[in-house]
Amino acid sequence: MTTAPSAATPAEVTEIDASARCSLLLLLGSALAWLVLSGALALVNLVQLNSPSFLAECPVLSFGRTQALQETAFIYGWAANAGLAVALWILGRLGGSPLRSLNWVITGTIFWNVAVTLGLVGIATGDAMAHTWLHLPRYVLPMMLVAYGTIAVSGVLAWTGRRNPMTFAAQWYAVAALFLFPWIFSAAQVMLVFTPERGVLQALVGGWFVQGAWTLWLAPLALTSAYYLVPKVSGRAIPSYDFAALSFWTLLVVGGWTGGRHFIGGPVPAWVASIAGVSCALLLFHYIVVGLNLRAAFSSGGSTVLKFVAFGLGAYVLGGFLDALTAIRGVALVTQFTYFTAAQSQLALNGAFSMMIFGAIYFLVPRITGQAWASSTLIRAHYLTAIIGTTALVAALAVAGWVQGHDLNDPAVTFAVIAGHTKTWLQVATAAQALLVLGNLLLLGHLLKSAVSSLLAPATATFRQPPTMEASVS
């Protein structure tokens, strides 16, 4: 199936990897630190659901604030940093020349993380805004926008200045994510924070922002990783690649229209929710194509990287189908306003996004540090905690939400009874979240160890020259 490496094949690890070491390690290290913090806060949140008086005397960690904190730390701490690191690295490698303006990446990363820290302190002390995914207080927003720009410019330069005129699906997704987020973020800032819209339009802009940030930023970042890793590790070209472009544009064009999917039966004109439901259904085409194109991940042949990606892909496609399902009015009648929505967002964030990015982290860190990971046991342990934790968390929340939704629709069932019905499932979710935090802590430690040893010791990892991929496989 593959030929022996020819003399023309360049080395697997080059200057591209080594030069990006510091900036990418900074991005990844801060990302994982935020992920652990966010996980710990999510754990506090779940404990509070089971025993409401937990930490209730502490105003910084009231239930609502803790939720805002963990969400912000996840999106702007973990997802932004890690997604940028992976996208920059892949754009650099496929572009064929070392990343430029890396000093700006480091500066931007520092300022971004300072802004996120200030934002979290602001939320904890009472400056939070009440928009999902945009709880950040107003004073950190402009700084974040500038910092994001300084990091992302390196990726856009790698794309526009690429040596190789050919492009690949992973690059499309990466460039789209890097380029579109500032527009979405600044439009949402202006319309929600600086010159807020009136009435329900605030909620509508908020809904558009969340769906835009997912379909045009986080999902493309995750797919960058998956589209690169699956053919790269398996050595097999993507089947029905003709559809990759159509699927890409479906996500971009239709994704933004799903913004009204949480407003079914709500105080916005009926067409908003109808269009969102229809768009969720149209996106199924994108999900099907992604699933088919990247199905090689499911026959991983023992590669842990591909196992992570496969789990992420499964979660991504399943999440797409659940979105389309719950955007139908009859289903939303039960799932709306319940833990089921939380299950869906955990499936997307912890299940799809994090898993695909974990895969990329395990693949890229040995290449940029020149050091193999310290322990394969730690990698396996993290893999197990991640898949068990995520599956249990999502399943428990989904069941709890389904029960809660049916109970809510029966006016005879009081809230105390509903709490009793969901208690067991929420306890399962709490345990699952604890497992997730533990696993992510392992990865953080593992990464720090790699980073330290790469500073102290010369490169020891050995990457053999990869074979050449042939066009007409399968």
Partner: protein
């Protein structure tokens, strides 16, 4: 995808199209929505929040109350909102035009609060203040909205009837008082023309059969 400029233009257009459709489209429809002036009553609805209630809305926002409570009633034949006594009609866009920070919420771990001000618990400010202090079912106590202080002269009128050390009293802070005023102000009972229940469109079904 090889042509960089076309690619960026495509990306931008994809985003701009959805933004124009969802955000600008609804802005064009609802951006100028005004309170409804009722000639019979000589007032416009919804009424503006009184100053203290507007401050209370900020407390509601910064404590993240929307994490557990929605403020949107679904129509009577869609869910049990009416049967649970949350409101007789569905919430409409006009209900929110006077609110500086709209708190629709996405989760019903606790009950909907869109018309909370009309419920027995909210009518009595003293009882509602006490409610925030105690724990009830799944709702945590909000003790940090209260302060325990020494009684100087007479007991304050706002002091809670809770056990406190000798010579001490538990009083709500300004934030608690503002929050209570805001919760009491939540009442959207005025029936706007667009909020009346509608007959399902019958002739639509014929269209579907064609």
């Amino acid at each position: 995808m090889k042509n960089g400029f076309t690619f960026f233009l495509g990306l931008f257009l994809a985003l701009a199209l959805a933004w124009a459709g969802i955000v600008l489209g609804s802005h064009a429809q609802l951006g100028h929505l005004a309170p409804y002036f009722d000639e019979n009553e000589g007032k416009a609805f919804p009424e503006r929040l009184p100053g203290i209630a507007a401050r209370g809305q900020l407390v509601y926002q910064d404590l993240g109350c929307a994490a557990c409570h929605t403020q949107q009633v679904r129509r009577p034949d869609f869910g049990s909102d009416k049967a649970r006594g949350w409101g007789d009609r569905q919430s409409v866009a006009r209900d929110y035009v006077s609110q500086p920070h709209v708190q629709l919420g996405e989760s019903r771990i606790g009950p909907d609060l869109a018309n909370f001000g009309a419920r027995p618990l909210a009518v009595d400010a003293e009882r509602l203040t006490q409610y925030l202090y105690d724990q009830h079912g799944g709702m945590p106590p909000y003790r940090f909205l209260f302060e325990t202080r020494k009684i100087t002269g007479e007991r304050s009128a706002t002091a809670l009837k809770v056990p406190a050390a000798v010579g001490m009293e538990v009083v709500p802070t300004h934030r608690a008082q503002a929050l209570v005023a805001y919760l009491q102000s939540l009442n959207n009972v005025y029936e706007y023309p667009e909020a009346r229940p509608v007959e399902p469109a019958e002739e639509k079904k014929e269209g579907a059969a064609k």
